[in-house]
């Protein structure tokens, strides 16, 4: 068990599955209103970042590639959250 958890990619798998479960659960929670959507999008960004770093192996890539990719998805996630949070009348 210890050897499974000590592996970075196994930890990423466990985190990704847990994050999927959390975003699934909070999206059902109507009591937290708009924060459910913001939380769901934020969790998606964290999941994508983990896929980039540990599955695509950019954690050990030249820093400009890592920053470019992570930064790109950070900007996209920020735009999505802004459009979701400040857009439209319910």
């Amino acid at each position: 068990m210890k050897s499974v958890i000590s592996n970075q990619q196994n930890r990423a798998l466990i985190f990704l599955l847990s994050a999927t479960a959390i975003s699934y659960l909070i999206s059902h929670d109507a009591s937290i209103g708009i924060w459910a959507g913001i939380g769901t999008l934020a969790i998606s960004f964290v999941k994508v970042r983990l896929v980039i770093l540990d599955f695509m192996e950019l954690r050990h890539a030249p820093i400009q590639w890592r920053i470019g990719f992570e930064g790109g998805f950070f900007v996209v996630s920020a735009i999505l959250i802004a459009v979701y949070a400040f857009g439209g009348v319910r």
Partner: protein
């Protein structure tokens, strides 16, 4: 368990080589796969990012319509497919680690599992589409379903390509074509598969979860 992280970092930088894995000059940081292939990955991600933003901007004008239409989607199947893709991606990572350790039989088994994950995703997607069509829901029904069908179908095409790539990768592994010092093509195929996973993470959140 053998730690392969040092092994993964063994080859050099990406400054002046086509195959990023080949340069011996920088042992601390290495871009996996074929460097030019990353341009395709960046282009694909940029295109999908524009789709995501367009979807949310359109949703702003008709939130009630989108939320009502969203009720017709099966969130459990969407979540199941998300888990399938994540586990499939992890299995591809394990396969690459196995090849680096010259364990081709183990790598072949991991890739076979990832291929089965791809086929499972496709099967579930067809079940979802069939259900929608039986209920008279088509891309022309309204804006939400137009986005739902177009985005998921474009993604599905990428997933089919990714599954074919995995099949080709597995054949190469079984034939002994790849080893620890010859990983660039294998890594590129894996990166494409992970991109398909990565795009689905956003699609799942936007189409199925966001209320």
């Amino acid at each position: 368990m053998v730690n392969v992280s040092d092994h993964q970092q063994g080859a050099g930088d990406d400054s002046d080589t086509t195959l990023a894995s080949d340069s011996p000059t920088d042992y601390s940081r290495r871009l996996p796969g074929v460097r030019d292939f990353w341009i395709l990955i960046v282009a694909e991600c940029t295109l999908f990012s524009l789709f995501f933003i367009t979807y949310l901007v359109n949703r702003r004008g008709a939130i009630r319509l989108y939320e009502t239409s969203q009720q017709a989607l099966d969130r459990n199947l969407g979540a199941f497919n998300t888990v399938v893709l994540i586990v499939g991606s992890w299995s591809v990572v394990r396969a690459l680690n196995s090849v680096r350790l010259d364990r081709s039989r183990s790598a072949s088994r991991y890739l076979a599992f990832s291929i089965s994950c791809g086929l499972t995703f496709l099967f579930v997607k067809f079940v979802e589409y069939r259900e929608k069509f039986l209920h008279g829901l088509y891309p022309t029904t309204n804006d939400f379903f137009m986005f739902y069908f177009v985005l998921t179908m474009i993604h599905m095409v990428h997933l089919i390509v990714g599954t074919i790539v995995l099949i080709v990768m597995r054949r190469g592994v079984r034939n002994g074509r790849y080893h620890g010092g010859n990983m660039a093509v294998l890594e590129s195929g894996a990166i494409y598969w992970h991109m398909v996973d990565l795009l689905w993470i956003f699609l799942f959140a936007l189409l199925y979860l966001l209320r």
